[in-house]
């Protein structure tokens, strides 16, 4: 692309004829080619500018969408952290429950031992009572 200064220098060398509202320029074909080339190039640059602006606005939308995704994922991470906390509490509660149940088992074992002992004593007492009764009865009947 030609610099404006270079183009202006070329125009000054053309000695333009000015009549009322019209200007007649006599240009060398190379200079005219340069001007046409620039004009057409500016048209393309204008189109490019519009497309770049559209692309820019699309990219801004993409950034916003990605921000939404990131924020939503951050929210999900917080939710997952809460879930993990809840599961930890749940596990703690289950541990406590298991502890209580194990303590209950111990108590029941002691109770079973106690009742076995009592049962043995009851059987022994029953046998002893029967023997004593039989002896007393025998003695009584003997008399």
């Amino acid at each position: 692309m030609t610099l404006p200064v270079a183009s202006m220098t070329t125009l000054e060398e053309t000695n333009p004829e000015i009549k009322e509202d019209s200007v007649t320029l006599t240009l060398h074909v190379d200079d005219a080619r340069l001007i046409l080339g620039d004009l057409l190039d500016y048209e393309h640059v204008d189109s490019l500018l519009t497309i770049y602006q559209e692309k820019d606005s699309i990219n801004i939308s993409i950034i916003k969408k990605k921000e939404l995704i990131i924020n939503t994922q951050k929210g999900q991470i917080e939710d997952y952290k809460l879930k993990i906390e809840n599961y930890k509490k749940l596990v703690d509660n289950k541990d406590t429950e298991i502890g209580i149940l194990l303590a209950n088992i111990e108590k029941l074992k002691k109770e079973v031992k106690k009742q076995r002992r009592q049962k043995r004593w009851a059987i022994a007492s029953g046998v002893a009572g029967t023997v004593v009764t039989a002896i007393i009865m025998g003695l009584t009947l003997g008399n």
């Binding site: 497309i51 692309k55 990605k66 999900q76 749940l90 209580i100 149940l101 029941l108």
Partner: protein, 124 residues
């Protein structure tokens, strides 16, 4: 006629009464199972599970939002690709135009400038 109770009968009656007394009045074994505490813990766990279920629902709703946003991003990226190819086309056309202008003679150049002016006027 009154019959006198002999010693043997008295002992049998006493022993029978003793057995019946034992059966009736023998205390039930008292074991503290901490059932209240267990019930409380179970209730807490049910609450925690319910909270986690609602959190799972929230997470799944957010998943839907993310999936939709990602789909939209993909569509937008396709649009960007279209714009990039347009930019590429225009840049190619710029090069072609430069080459084309270099090959024009005086008449074609004048026609080109006139076309440009006409296009700009109609554009305005």
């Amino acid at each position: 006629m009154k019959k006198k109770l002999d010693f043997k009968t008295i002992i049998i009656i006493v022993l029978l009464l003793g057995v019946i007394g034992f059966i009736i009045f023998w205390p039930e074994p008292e074991v503290d199972y901490n059932q209240d505490k267990i019930d409380e813990l179970k209730e807490q766990n049910e609450d925690l599970l319910a909270k986690n279920d609602s959190l799972s629902n929230v997470i799944s709703e957010k998943d839907t939002i993310i999936v939709m946003a990602e789909r939209e991003v993909e569509e937008l990226q396709e649009e960007v690709e279209i714009k990039d190819s347009l930019i590429q086309n225009i840049n190619n056309r710029r090069d072609e135009t430069r080459d084309h202008v270099n090959s024009l003679d005086g008449n074609d150049i004048t026609r080109g400038i006139n076309d440009y002016i006409r296009r700009n006027k109609s554009g305005n």
